[in-house]
């Protein structure tokens, strides 16, 4: 009889198993994404489902995105003012708020809010459909689940999340403006001019590109986790949790990579 493996060997085996599991998941997600593009480019298209997805991902996310951006912009203005006063740099509040919101906080916060609100909702809905055999029913009704469920949602995410990011940027700057003018004594016209003059086209472009990437990640991961859901309520719960976890981590990773691509010196 062979001896039981030693602790280091077991630890190494565990690590190897985890790495293999991660690689397998990356492979499955990549295949899922490729399948999305293949189905996106071939008919039939489900216009009604696309319009519904636009509404639920875009329109219904406006309140949470708007409030998050506004209060973050306001808090950012207070922090920069307080921090800047240590080295007599309070005047840069409009510029830093604009730069911080447009380049970084706007896209990331909107992305994470979409992951919390939309990814979880998509994953739970599709997972429930799977558990209750609605996905099987779609197939028997000659309707491909990828075309009917995934393509409309991911396409809507690709279109609407950059718009939400753009809006979040503006509302965030508005939050900073409100705090700057009402609490910190900035002149409104000067605040707006400093914001406008300081921002460059690349700042806005990077923000919107991040929005496209985050929209794709958040909706795709929701659909992926839902489609791969296990059985029962536990399966739906696990799918929902893993969709938000993976979307959030991927959004932050993509943000780091895109920031490097746009602004590395």
């Amino acid at each position: 009889m062979r001896d039981a493996p030693s602790l280091p060997v077991r630890a190494l085996a565990g690590l190897g198993g985890a790495v293999l599991g991660l690689l397998a998941m990356i492979g499955r997600v990549t295949l899922f994404a490729l399948s999305f593009f293949r189905h996106l480019l071939t008919p039939p298209f489900y216009g009604r489902e696309f319009v519904v997805a636009l509404g639920s991902i875009g329109w219904l996310s406006l309140p949470v995105v708007g409030m998050t951006a506004f209060f973050t912009g306001g808090a950012l203005a207070l922090q920069i003012y307080a921090g800047g006063s240590r080295f007599d740099a309070q005047a840069v509040v409009p510029q830093i708020v604009a730069l911080g919101m447009v380049r970084e906080l706007g896209p990331v916060l909107v992305g994470l809010m979409i992951a919390a609100r939309v990814t979880s909702s998509i994953a739970a809905e599709i997972a429930t459909m799977k558990v209750t055999e609605q996905i099987d029913a779609l197939v028997t009704l000659s309707t491909h689940p990828m075309k009917y469920l995934t393509v409309p949602r991911v396409l809507a995410g690709l279109i609407v999340v950059p718009l939400l990011v753009g809006l979040g940027d503006v509302i965030g700057i508005l939050g900073g403006f409100t705090v700057g003018v009402k609490s910190l004594g900035f002149n409104p016209a000067v605040y707006i001019r400093n914001t406008w003059d300081f921002l460059e086209p690349l700042d806005v472009i990077s923000s919107l590109v991040k929005g496209v990437a985050f929209g794709f990640i958040s909706t795709l991961m929701g659909c992926y986790a839902g489609m791969r859901s296990g059985r029962g309520a536990q399966g739906v719960g696990e799918a929902t949790k893993s969709s938000v976890e993976s979307a959030s981590v991927l959004i932050l990773t993509a943000n780091f990579i895109l920031t490097g691509v746009f602004f590395s010196v």
């Binding site: 429930t128 197939v139 000659s142 309707t143």
Partner: protein, 248 residues
């Protein structure tokens, strides 16, 4: 006609279908009986392509079901799922007319709605149900809507997965009668899986028993009680003692 030849399917080490041979003649109603977990649902899913068999052949009117145009193949089928599997986000009439609102069988919306209401009427539901959502209906009503959806596109072959599970005996009888009447009216080939012996006697022309991954016995429903097979006898009498192991 549906022919299964040496159909095999395993999940990991667990062999669910271990060489199933079965023929369902055209226009006949075949009921497959068997205990929970015996592979009845997997069998249906293999025929529909929802599961990929590990081996064997599935022939529908002589054509290999795994080859050729998938949409054209599925367009010949209707299916009533165990839990009805209605789409929560769509009103009842759009569930029923799902196939008529998109794809190759697409019709104008008003016509599709009219057909849906007609099918709802056929399964004993009034037109005012059409605009409700599935969550607003009782289990029996959901089953009827599922049945209406299964027959909406006039399929040649209809599958019924545990059609009476979870229903009270009276509603189960109503569903059984509807299945019998509708399949006879349409001249459809029907394949039902159930362990409800009341349903078996109400629906079946032919019965097959699936046990241990294989068809243990098959024959006309009239011969079921005199099958001479100890497995079938234990199953139809519901006895805890016999060759089929019962967990206590």
């Amino acid at each position: 006609m549906i022919q299964l030849e040496n159909l095999q399917k395993s999940f990991g080490p667990h062999k669910v279908l271990a060489g199933v041979d079965l023929t369902v003649p055209q226009g006949r109603s075949m009921v497959i009986i068997g205990g929970s977990g015996s592979g009845k649902s997997v069998l249906l899913k293999c025929i529909l392509g929802l599961e990929t068999p590990d081996g064997g052949r599935i022939l529908v009117d002589g054509q290999d079901a795994t080859k050729g145009d998938r949409d054209a193949f599925l367009a010949r089928f209707g299916m009533l799922f165990q839990g009805a599997a209605l789409f929560d986000s769509l009103p009842v009439w759009q569930n029923v007319a799902f196939r008529l609102l998109r794809g190759a069988l697409k019709r104008p919306k008003a016509e599709a709605r009219e057909i849906a209401i007609e099918k709802l009427r056929r399964v004993g539901l009034s037109p005012d149900v059409a605009d409700k959502f599935p969550a607003e209906l009782s289990g029996g009503m959901q089953k009827r809507v599922g049945l209406a959806r299964a027959i909406a596109a006039e399929p040649q072959i209809i599958f019924f997965d545990e059609p009476t599970t979870g229903l009270d005996p009276i509603m189960a009888g109503v569903i059984d009668d509807l299945i019998r009447e509708i399949t006879a009216e349409m001249g459809a080939t029907a394949l039902t899986i159930t362990h409800d012996m009341g349903s078996v006697r109400a629906i079946a022309d032919e019965v097959a028993m699936l046990h241990g991954g294989k068809i243990r016995w098959s024959g006309p429903v009239a011969e079921l009680d005199a099958s001479g097979d100890p497995y079938v006898e234990q199953f139809i009498t519901g006895s805890a003692t016999g060759p089929i192991a019962a967990l206590r």
